[in-house]
Symmetry: C2
Subunit: 179 residues, 2 copies
DNA sequence: CTCAGTGTAAAACGATCACTTTACATGTAC
DNA sequence: GTACATGTAAAGTGATCGTTTTACACTGAG
């Protein structure tokens, strides 16, 4: 495996399991099996590594939740949690640990969340035939809530979110959401 | 003001704004205006301080969202964010930064989340006249989603959650949620 | 008067932090 | 065959980590 790939996926695991600040560079280089000199050649700094990890996670996450229905969306989220564990949104966590003061991290988080909104917007159109911002917002909030709650309640949270989302979709289909 | 109270509220602010691990004890003692010896007499360790902060926040939070309707619940959340800022659930953040390996923190978070569920359960009964676990779960997820999303989208997230919750309540009132 | 309790200031603890440097081994390309 | 890019190991940078210790001041109660 490519050195950079190995570094970033190792870092993602350690950051996710133990936190960003709590994970030192020594532990990182040791786990990835590379020298610290090589690490700094590749990512420049710890903040650079964090940003690189989040960028890669963004790509992987959106590839995995590439769904065209609410059921498929929450199904994909459930699979993600089953395979990767649920420890809260890694973007929010990075943002919180750095106090929102690292521009690279703020940027990648904004991009990630914007993509999520667009994906759900597309799903809403596929489900009810036209855009509906209020419905998109509701499903997005359920999605975020499930991500949040799965940390302490496990996969059941996703099932609850899916059911609520389906109900809102049905309501919008039969009478319009603004009735 | 009592020394312990001052210490804990100072620590809550610093932890919330800059992260738990990133906030050192020197910065803490300096901001609270006490010596490190006194700090350790009062809370024993940094983990002890974190747990004490979360306990106090739990008390304060539940006193503030003591509502008996969905509107009042989300109204209280919006006020909370306006006054204290929205930087994500401090319990989840503490849990994430410690990798879930500090028992005192795991406990206080579990208690906090359980209380939140009970509060919403009561609200559901007040709104539709009987318990409805699925509806409670849905509103809880919207509440968590709003907490989560307000970090990067501001108070508008709370308004979206309130609207979706009201819609689900109305649905449950007219036809029952299990229709 | 004294003693216990509670506070301060400041130094010291070894460990670890993010990061850099020095010195050396590769393989590949011109 | 020499120059360059890319890697390693390992020591060193000064700063900061959480925590403990030493030495001293103040206060209220017996």
């Amino acid at each position: 495996m490519d050195i950079r790939t190995r570094l970033i996926s190792t870092a993602e695991q350690l950051f996710d399991r133990h936190g960003f600040t709590a994970t030192g560079m020594d532990r990182l280089t040791q786990a990835a099996g590379i020298s610290s000199r090589t690490l700094y050649k590749h990512v420049g700094s710890k903040n650079g590594l964090m940003a690189a990890v989040l960028n890669e996670r963004d790509r992987r996450f959106h590839r995995r939740i590439n769904a065209d229905s609410v059921d498929a969306l929450f199904g994909a989220l459930e699979t993600w949690f089953a395979e990767e564990g649920a420890r809260g949104c890694l973007f929010l966590r990075a943002w919180g640990e750095t106090g929102g003061s690292v521009p690279e991290i703020v940027e990648v988080m904004a991009r990630h969340k914007e993509r999520l909104r667009q994906r759900i917007d597309d799903i809403v159109v596929a489900e009810i035939g036209h855009r509906d911002d209020e419905l998109t917002e509701a499903i997005l909030l359920l999605f975020e809530g499930a991500t949040h709650a799965a940390t302490y309640r496990g996969g059941a949270a996703v099932e609850g979110a899916r059911r609520a989302a389906r109900r809102l979709i049905e309501g919008a289909r039969t009478q319009g959401l603004s009735s």
